[in-house]
């Protein structure tokens, strides 16, 4: 079995050494965000400021990366979350991960702080650090242009240099968006990391792996979601269904429907703005939108950006959304937290609590405003700190839309209460993906699980949180999990009695799902191509005996180590919360159940997870998972 190759880079001294990953660590924690969380738990002293030189940043891949498996070019950044103080992981497509692996490294661990603005170069097994002070103030595009095109690059823009708390890191036109990934690099004086290599990713059983990959790609291309909707409409295709289901955040999550939604829909996007679709390395889904901005073809906005820079600030100019999306990427800022923070500031202005120069429906000054945020100019420096910080200064906690400090993604959870539970319990804060993405089952997808009932939601939330944890850590894009909803149900449609039966059966499965986690991995000693195709591919590429049960258990282990990290850093059950707008105020006045019944779901969620009533993993659970 090939073990991952990690380097430990002390930026203060400029020294590089190998960091061995043991067989036990690899088999227990796989790679990507799970191994990243474990390494961070072991290496980072409790209570360290995420922006201090003593802090640690891990940039790593999963075993699938670069093997040719579908949708497997993604890499991960793990670090202490700048917005929440807990665990952070930020995942990114593009070229960098593949090139870092080709250069001989599965991961790098950054410690210390470079004395001057610097760049790290990783070329065929050699790592060097060089002066990058000439790149100070450059945007993400210009910075990447300092290296030849076919290198993998990971850079920060001015926002990262200025420690904007939600600054992102940019690779090509993709971003490691959330939690302040750009700020932690900026705090280490790292402007860029560039990689180039010629090595091939090792696959232990290539003979069986290649035909399996071929079969899997065919399956992805034949599925209505990954083979049709995502290539045709991209994630913005969600706008219409999110609006019809009442989960399209509007006016800082005051409502879940937007009267001008058609102007920002995926259909309008495809008809009026799309030049072509594109995709990451080895991805058959090709969800990326290409659009023209100021005469240049660039990556278009995704659903989160469309929702949060569209309906959530009462704007229906899709061309402008693509433009601000491009500028946010140039400056190096996470569009979810940026737009969420702006919407909160707009409501503060509306309520007369603070005037930070922005207001609902007035987008004209926002391109200028985000420039000033990135450079922390004047009052805009406040906006660079995120919603939680703003609420602590100006008030408005009840409508500051974040969980643990991380702004929520573009799903209004009062009409998708399982999504609300996911946001509240997500280890990195208000994230739909770390939260299990139940919106797909409750409101925006072909299945129609009762979107208001708390029944079954804790069990399903745990199931999907663990699944996504494992899929991400293995190195796959999470879109490959969307085929878990059988293609046949799309053909039948959401009104068919079979689809309705499956929806009810999923809620009913709650009685089976809780014991499941105590019986893994022996309860699922098989691989399931149509539900979790990743586990077999993982086994073939690493040479490990892998089953769906083992795979899910690694996901559960990952979620628990992240939770342990958060507890150690002072986050507790009190932080498994949402703003009271979402838990106490019905979204629709005539539908009193359109609130997130968090208090009803959390105790059950903790029980299903094997945690005590305070949300602390019980010793028995940690022993079962081998978490030490």
């Amino acid at each position: 079995m090939r073990l991952p190759n990690y380097a430990y880079i002390d930026l203060s001294t400029g020294t590089v050494k190998d960091y061995p990953i043991s067989k036990e660590l690899f088999t227990q924690y796989m790679g990507g965000k799970i191994l990243g969380a474990k390494l961070l738990y072991d290496l980072l002293p409790a209570g360290t400021d995420p922006l201090a030189p003593e802090s640690i940043v891990i940039i790593n891949t999963g075993p699938a990366n670069g093997t040719g498996a579908p949708s497997s070019s993604r890499f991960n950044m793990s670090f202490k979350n700048v917005l929440t103080g807990g665990i952070a992981s930020a995942n990114c497509g593009g070229r960098f991960g593949v090139m870092m692996k080709k250069a001989g490294y599965d991961g790098i661990i950054l410690a210390g702080k470079a004395p001057i603005l610097s760049a790290i170069e990783i070329v065929d097994g050699a790592i060097s650090i060089r002066d990058a002070s000439a790149y100070a103030g450059m945007d993400s595009e210009e910075t990447q242009e300092q290296w030849v095109r076919h290198w993998g690059k990971l850079v920060i823009g001015p926002a990262g240099e200025n420690l904007v708390r939600y600054a992102c890191a940019v690779s090509g036109e993709r971003v490691a968006g959330r939690c302040g990934a750009g700020a932690v690099l900026g705090a280490k004086n790292i402007k860029a990391i560039a990689a180039y290599g010629t090595q091939k990713a090792e696959v232990q059983n290539r003979e069986k792996f290649d035909p399996y990959v071929k079969k899997w790609v065919k399956f992805l291309k034949s599925h209505p979601m990954t083979g049709k909707s995502l290539p045709l409409y991209g994630t913005a295709g969600l706008v219409s269904s999110a609006n019809a289901s009442g989960v399209l955040p509007t006016r800082n999550f005051q409502k879940g429907r937007f009267e001008h939604h058609r102007h920002i829909s995926g259909e309008t996007f495809a008809e009026q703005h799309l030049t072509r679709n594109s995709g990451c390395v080895s991805c058959p889904i090709r969800c990326e939108r290409r659009v023209m901005v100021n005469g240049k073809e660039v990556k278009g906005a995704e659903f989160e950006t469309v929702g949060l820079f569209g309906s959530n600030i009462e704007n229906h100019d899709l061309a402008w959304i693509n433009e601000i999306n491009y500028h946010a990427d140039l400056l190096g800022m996470d569009t979810i937290s940026l737009a969420g923070t702006l919407a909160f500031a707009m409501e503060l202005q509306e309520k007369g609590m603070a005037d930070l120069g922005v207001s609902f429906g007035d987008k004209d000054n926002l391109l200028d405003v985000i420039e000033k945020i990135a450079r922390r100019e004047g009052i805009y420096g406040d906006l660079a700190n995120g919603s939680k910080w703003l609420a602590e200064k100006y008030g408005g906690t009840e409508f500051a839309i974040h969980a643990k400090g991380l702004e929520l993604a573009a799903y209004e959870p009062r009409n998708s209460v399982g999504m609300g539970l996911g946001y509240a319990t997500s280890n990195r804060g208000g994230c739909h993906l770390n939260g299990g993405y139940l919106a797909l089952l409750e409101s925006i997808g072909v299945l129609t699980l009762d979107k208001h009932t708390p029944k079954g939601k804790p069990e399903l939330c745990v199931m999907f949180q663990n699944l996504m944890e494992a899929v991400s850590a293995a190195g796959f894009c999470l879109f490959t999990t969307h085929t878990a909803v059988p293609a046949g149900l799309f053909k039948l449609g959401s009104m068919h009695r079979m689809t309705k039966f499956v929806s009810k059966a999923l809620i009913g499965s709650r009685f089976l799902l809780r014991p499941l986690w105590w019986c893994l991995p022996w309860l699922l000693p098989v691989n399931l191509m149509h539900l979790i195709p990743h586990s077999k591919a993982y086994g073939l590429m690493t040479g490990q005996r892998m089953t769906a049960g083992k795979f899910l258990q690694i996901g559960e282990r990952g979620f628990n180590i992240e939770r342990m990290f958060n507890l150690r850093e002072g986050l507790t059950a009190v932080d498994d919360a949402l703003p009271t707008r979402l838990t106490d105020v019905p979204q629709e006045a005539d539908v009193p159940e359109s609130v997130v019944p968090l208090a009803a779901m959390l105790p059950r969620y903790y029980k299903v997870r094997g945690w005590d009533k305070n949300g602390v993993p019980k010793p028995r659970k940690l022993k079962q998972l081998g978490v030490r």
């Binding site: 994630t235 269904s241 019809a244 995926g266 259909e267 959401s494 009104m495």
Partner: protein, 79 residues
């Protein structure tokens, strides 16, 4: 009268963006699509998301008030 608004691929299959028809229920709407544009179009309409006055409907027997708008969309996902 009820206004039907087609989006995305279905719009290309039926060849119109919108039309007005007489219908009392969602079932009547599907029957109209099947009779006018064929079973393939009806299958596509059923397999997507149907919204009555911008709100999702999940049953064919849902009654449609006069003057309503019924929209047809594709399912998608995000991340």
């Amino acid at each position: 009268m009820v206004k039907l608004v087609y989006h995305g691929e279905l719009r290309h299959v039926v060849g119109v963006a919108e039309e007005d028809i007489d219908a009392d229920t969602i079932k009547d709407v599907f029957r109209h699509i099947s009779d006018t544009y064929g079973k393939e179009a009806c299958g596509m309409a059923k397999s997507g998301l149907v919204a009555l006055n911008e709100k999702r409907v999940t049953g064919v027997s849902v009654r449609i008030p006069a003057g309503s708008v019924v929209g047809f969309y594709s399912f998608c996902s995000g991340g």
